[in-house]
Symmetry: C2
DNA sequence: AGGAGCGGTGCAAACGTTTGTATGATATTT
DNA sequence: AAATATCATACAAACGTTTGCACCGCTCCT
């Protein structure tokens, strides 16, 4: 392996000058700089990242922490973040917490030990408050996305959850559904409480009283969506706004089981715009979160050491599950 | 930050002894070792990974290189690998190539610069031969999985593609389909050529002549599957074994467009057992690859510095798209 | 009794980079 | 002309760990 010392010897100068030349430090003569770059190229020099990291006290790696990577939302978000980080000379190290708090703490701590340059982070469902984050992470720059703790420092990038849920619920109302429940997520998490607020506001703005008995919290998985949908049906619902797509899928399972026709007799809108929502029968309407853009924004927020909250608009994708009487499509 | 020097001073010994004690080196007295561990714990010592990496010339990070992370197969494989690597004290850095050769070379090179402890690797479609790998990667331990170059050193972990395709095709034959084509993948890639061989063998073992005009290569995406299925229909096919699930989905699109009833008049089996295959109407039969196990095996192969090929069995999941006359399910 | 073997520890040199400070040579000011 | 500023480079000390080698004291052998 060729080092800066080798280059220095070859040129009759010292490693420090080589280092500065390579770093683009203005305190080295242009002529010297060119000679160094030429020699480095010719000799096949490649900076020893580990030595550089040790000396500078931090690495060129950014940690991306997500609950799971096999979600359309998170995997696309990661791709978006990678595209920005890569251009800026950073590498991403992707970590899954599998929705487990212990794993989340562990992961943050490991990233901290690796002195990563920053962490892009979406916390797991099990994390009810942020008290574990800073102790595990130390003073490493933090950017939160999607599921954020508002009391933590650093930038936050979130979808327009309130507006998205508002739009989805309004859409159900305009489609003529009258008793609209919601498969709410975990209400201690901001994204889900925002969606619930949006749902509620949409009802109230349309003169429909908000009925807490039609709110089914903690249902974002297929199983819990299935169970909650049965309860919703028993409560007389004829539509559901679901804060997740997997729970919307579970609801569809329940409706099929009961032989209820969707969208004729029951409407559903999910959230996240997972790939599969377009494939089910009926296909599932869903409020999409533009994850790729969120990933890019999160990466930019890190690079620019941004503070404050960036909100990414959401988009309603109307499909069969809410397309009553075919009034929305074709 | 507390260092081994701090611990050494606190105990009146030298950093070298502390280092050896922490590493579990047998050349340090048991009593000393306990004292060091106790002091380390008490003082909140945490090894500086960057210094350790620099000195040892390698890191505790393992690179996992896949074409895309938003595939059920790859994301589950990653989870499997992570579970093993984590227990062994390694961290995974996940890299996507997005099926682009340039990106693949870049990624391997970056991992090499980071002196990762090893690389678990599945190459992209664009890579027609292995000539770029070793130059970019240097002498870092390599484990290939799924899409492997047989001429590269190191362990390989692959699904039983031949057997899987054989089973799927046999299943179609037993279902009474008579003119069975195949949506083959990129035949310069081992997994796909193996699947084609399995398909062919199954036909021949059942007295059906292999007809090259029913082989539609390069179709593993939804679009290419759609196009190829139209061609297959024109060629008189009444069934397709597809080497991918997305192409099977595309085939379903084409069949719906033509109003052909599946599975009554046409049978399909895909490959990979993507989540969505169970959700379409009709649901898509698929040969699954047990990605989680493959990930575990790949990680173990790295840890044990294994050589040679490990084959993971595949499983046929029979769903509606090939369940003619309801003979297989219910 | 003298030397060999061994268990436990210390010494010091790495690993390759970065960076504060010193140095020497010009250029600029008074 | 002397003092001062400016520029480009050199010097050397880090960063914290690991590890070959040296060393010391002890036991065991012949």
């Amino acid at each position: 392996m060729v080092t800066i010392t080798d280059i220095a010897e070859a040129l009759g100068i010292t490693p420090s000058t080589v280092s500065r030349a390579l770093a683009g430090n203005p305190r080295v003569r242009e002529e010297t700089r060119r000679a160094v770059l030429e020699a480095a190229e010719r000799m096949g020099y490649e900076r020893n990242i580990m030595a550089s990291n040790l000396r500078r006290g931090r690495s060129d790696i950014v940690g991306i922490v997500v609950p799971r990577i096999n979600r359309e939302f998170f995997s696309n978000l990661i791709s978006g973040a990678e595209s920005i980080l890569g251009d800026a000379g950073y590498r991403a190290i992707i970590c899954q917490t599998h929705e487990e708090l212990d794993s989340e703490i562990q992961v943050l701590h490991t990233l901290s030990l690796h002195r990563v340059a920053g962490v892009l982070f979406s916390h797991c469902i099990d994390a009810t408050d942020s008290s574990h984050v800073l102790p595990a992470l130390g003073n490493i720059p933090l950017v939160q996305f999607d599921r954020v703790f508002s009391d933590l420092p650093g930038a936050k990038v979130v979808g327009a959850n309130f507006e998205g849920a508002y739009e989805a619920t309004t859409h159900l109302i305009l489609s003529g559904y009258r008793r609209i429940g919601t498969l709410a997520g975990y209400l201690n998490i901001g994204v889900y409480s925002d969606r619930l607020r949006g749902y509620r506001k949409a009802l109230e703005d349309n003169g429909i009283p908000y009925d807490e008995s039609l709110v089914f919290p903690d249902s974002i998985f297929r199983e819990s969506g299935y169970t909650a949908c049965h309860l919703a049906l028993d409560a007389g619902c004829d539509a559901l706004y679901s804060a997740g797509d997997f729970s919307a899928l579970g609801a569809l399972d329940a409706l099929k089981e009961r032989g209820i026709s969707v969208p004729d007799d029951f409407g559903i809108v999910g959230t996240a715009n997972e790939f599969f929502t377009a494939l089910t029968s009926p296909s599932i309407s869903s409020v999409g979160q533009r994850p790729y853009d969120m990933g890019r924004e999160a990466a930019l927020a890190f690079l620019e050491r941004r503070e404050g909250v960036t909100v990414i608009p959401m988009e309603l994708h109307i499909r069969q599950s809410s397309n009553r009487n075919n009034i929305w499509l074709k």
